[in-house]
């Protein structure tokens, strides 16, 4: 069973890469219709139902396949709302809401596209409940993909504690303000809710289930961002090495100069380390373990992405510094990724305690090899 999932992950990678190369394109930044076409295709190809429960029409695969999707979308600097949609999907799979099945099916079929705050665990809306109706109040800052989303997944503050809500964006009282981020590969907006009415069936989770869901979604979120980072770092690095093997100065390829070769070797080592760490965290996710390794992956992979991108500009020389060349797109996406969930310093503070332990294989526990 394990072997067949592995094979599928590689086949999936080949297919996803091909589809994205043909259809996506950070150059198609302003073309909304192209984005809609791609999303439809993604739904048809089953990418949006890979991990959904079989009972709800999904393929019930493990997180490994999502890692493939996230990495490939990172490689192609994709602007599609995959992060919010898949995270909402995970939340809906265990939701007690009467509308959960319907909403999940709609996500799988591409009819619901979900935006998500950049800091989803630190944003919340006030939700006043009356019977089956909720009235939403507040401002959700820095929401990703609100431009192409139909819903946004947000935490809400209810009378009995926190909850998670999948709020429809086509409702009266919602206004969006697009924020001009340096990263032009994704849209970020502030979304304000002034007395917006929503059904309480939009509540994905509340009460006792929220704490566990927080952990689950946090792990998913951190791993997804880590994958976006390492996918972007890897393709940028590959393109940089290819450039250095072809660009000639002083009668030879610039890649033949030892100083530059050595910098590339170092970058390759960092990317390998990031990829391998993420692979292990993804494998651990299969066994349902905790969040600290996922957060560590995001910290490390985002730092690697940033540093690879900084070097890539330099290694391309003058053209690396132009607007027309891709390098700055990767660099700016890397810098924004670093801020996802919380800024790197805050992330370090949060994981400091859990990470300062040494793991050891226990007798009867899972062996290292």
């Amino acid at each position: 069973m394990t072997e067949s999932i592995k094979v599928e992950a590689h086949e999936l990678e080949v297919m996803v890469r091909r589809v994205l190369a043909e259809r996506a394109g950070h150059r198609a930044i302003a073309d909304a219709s192209k984005g809609a076409d791609l999303w439809r295709l993604m739904a048809e190809l089953g990418w949006l139902s890979l991990t959904a429960p079989q009972a709800m029409g999904g393929l019930e695969q493990s997180f490994d396949v999502l890692a493939v999707i996230y990495k490939e979308m990172g490689r192609s600097l994709a602007r599609e709302p995959i992060l919010g949609s898949l995270i909402a999907g995970e939340a809906l799979a265990t939701s007690q809401s009467s509308a959960a099945g319907e909403m999940l099916r709609a996500i799988c079929e591409g009819r619901i596209r979900v935006g998500l705050p950049i800091a989803p665990f630190e944003s919340a809306l006030q939700a006043d409940r009356a019977g089956d109706a909720l009235t939403l109040r507040g401002m959700v800052r820095t929401v990703l993909h609100a431009d192409s989303a139909t819903h946004v997944l947000i935490r809400v503050i209810l009378e009995n504690g926190d909850g998670w809500l999948l709020a429809p964006l086509a409702a009266e009282g919602i206004s969006q303000k697009d924020l001009p981020t340096w990263d032009r590969t994704r849209q970020v907006s502030d979304v304000s809710f002034s007395g917006v009415h929503a059904s309480s069936s939009c509540l994905v989770a509340e009460g006792a289930t929220v704490a566990a869901l927080d952990q689950q979604l946090s792990t998913h979120f951190h791993l997804a961002v880590a994958c976006d980072c390492i996918g972007g770092a890897r393709v940028l690095f590959e393109n940089t090495v290819a450039y250095m093997r072809s660009r000639q100065q002083f009668g030879r390829p610039i890649g033949s100069f030892q100083a530059l070769k050595h910098r590339c070797a170092t970058l390759h080592t960092w990317i390998e380390a990031g990829e391998t760490l993420i692979d292990e965290a993804v494998a651990e996710r299969r066994t349902g373990t905790g969040d600290s390794l996922a957060a560590a992956c995001k910290l490390y992979a985002s730092a690697v992405y940033r540093d690879v991108a900084i070097e890539a500009v330099q290694l391309h020389g003058g053209i690396g510094f132009t607007w027309e060349h891709d390098c700055h797109l990767f660099l700016k996406r890397a810098l924004l990724n670093e801020q996802f969930a919380r800024p790197p310093r805050a992330e370090r503070d949060l994981i400091a305690e859990t990470l300062l332990g040494v793991r050891r294989p226990a007798i009867g526990g899972e062996p290292c090899w």
């Binding site: 394990t2 072997e3 592995k6 090495v241 250095m244 093997r245 030879r252 390829p253 890649g255 033949s256 030892q258 070769k261 050595h262 590339c264 070797a265 170092t266 390759h268 080592t269 390998e272 380390a273 990031g274 391998t276 760490l277 692979d279 292990e280 390794l293 560590a296 910290l299 490390y300 310093r345 370090r348 503070d349 994981i351 400091a352 990470l355 300062l356 040494v358 793991r359 050891r360 294989p361 007798i363 009867g364 062996p367 290292c368 090899w369």
Partner: protein, 401 residues
């Protein structure tokens, strides 16, 4: 998915066995015996420890199955090293070259007689050193000039070797010599097995920046080596040496990474002493601990590939580069965490590997990994050229002086 026939239950049983043996045979205060007590105490301790661990069949898991303790699968070897490292057991530094470099090279290239002479002796505690590098031949090892002239049924050797680990205590030496100046420099190299008790051999210790003396210079003045002690053919020495040079990768880094992971306790102790207000130290610690975790993942992947017969070119270089970088960062952070206290010399603990807990010593010692066993710069050349396909270095003149 792996080709290894040993199953998980057997690995767990092996781990339990090693732990049990260590509980019964490793004195809790062993480090005291080698801390601040000098080289003689270190040598005596290493010999005693070797006898114990070889007697338990745990010194030679990487040898062929026909040898006591040998024939272990890669997964079993890894399990043994992990258990030794996690228990903080002594490293076999005195017998390292014997068990690995000498044993693997002789097993592959030796005649039946050479194998019968040396391999059992190694398991009885015979100590070997390497005579490869020279003052003028480090990274460019093939440029070596120690000369061997054939006279009758012996070679007469003159020259000098440097950076020979444990040379002063060695019984035998793996010696690379030049038998010809014609043709490419590699083609004129021959591999000899030198009895260190031979007349004309002088071993002089090299004092390191760390204050200990792990290496020696070896001076060879008209040393006679029987032709029967040649490994492989005359002029085949470079090829033979490739076996030696590749024998120390892989498992060493498994062991060292486990020890590194274990020594993070010293960083935690520093953090506890510094208190909650030292936010920067805590953040920098998080970064380096994540990298140690990534290093473990990298090594696991490299060894899994090895178990599956799927080793990639450059894997060992990438692992070594990353280990060297992480070790430097870790020891430097540990040193910084001590502030002024770290600047005061402590008694040295010898033969405990990279995790003495003496931060300045560990930091200085990290150069062993950035320079020795193929320097960072050489490893980067390998990765750039053989993994990334970047153009190769222009070679120095192929013909030796």
């Amino acid at each position: 998915m792996n080709v290894d026939s040993v199953n998980d239950a057997e690995i767990l049983a092996l781990r339990e066995h090693v732990r049990g043996w260590l509980r019964g045979n490793l004195p809790a205060d062993w480090r005291e015996a080698v801390t601040g007590t000098g080289t003689d105490a270190f040598v005596a301790f290493q010999k005693t420890w070797f006898d114990k661990i070889a007697g338990a069949g745990l010194a030679s898991p990487h040898w062929g199955p026909e040898w006591p303790g040998g024939g272990r699968s890669v997964r079993e070897q890894i399990a043994i090293f992990e258990e030794l490292a996690q228990a903080g057991a002594p490293r076999l530094t005195l017998h390292f070259v014997s068990l690995y470099h000498a044993a693997m090279t002789i097993q592959e290239w030796g005649t039946a007689e050479q194998k019968a002479t040396h391999l059992p002796a190694i398991l009885r505690g015979e100590i070997w050193c390497q005579g490869f590098s020279e003052p003028g031949a480090g990274s460019d090892l093939a440029a070596l000039t120690t000369r061997a002239e054939r006279r009758g049924d012996a070679y007469v050797v003159n020259g000098q070797k440097v950076w020979s680990t444990m040379g002063r205590h060695a019984d035998w030496c793996l010696l690379l010599v030049r038998t010809s100046n014609e043709g490419p420099k590699q083609a004129g190299i021959t591999f000899l097995l030198l009895d260190m008790a031979s007349p004309g051999v002088t071993a002089r210790p090299i004092l390191q920046a760390t204050g200990d003396e792990e290496f020696c210079e070896i001076f060879l003045d008209d040393v006679e080596i029987p032709a029967a002690n040649r490994l492989g053919e005359e002029g085949q020495g470079w090829q033979v040496a490739q076996t030696t040079l590749s024998s120390e990768r892989g498992l060493t880094l498994v062991e060292l990474t486990e020890r590194l992971s274990r020594s993070t306790r010293y960083l935690r102790q520093s953090l506890e002493r510094r208190g909650d207000h030292d936010v920067q130290l805590r953040r920098e610690s998080v970064d380096v601990l994540i990298k140690i975790r990534a290093l473990q993942a990298l090594i696991r992947r490299a060894m899994t590939r090895r178990v599956n017969g799927d080793e990639r070119v450059g894997d060992s270089s990438i692992v070594k580069l990353y280990y060297a970088e992480v070790l430097r960062q870790f020891t430097q952070l540990g040193l910084a965490s001590e502030d002024l206290d770290g600047q005061f010399a402590q008694p040295l603990a010898l033969g405990v590997g990279q995790e003495t807990g003496n931060w300045m010593f560990d930091f200085l010692n990290s150069y062993m990994w950035t320079i020795a066993g193929g320097s960072n710069e050489i490893q980067r050349n390998i990765v750039a050229e053989r993994v990334l396909g970047m153009p190769r270095e222009p070679t120095a003149t192929a013909v030796s002086r």
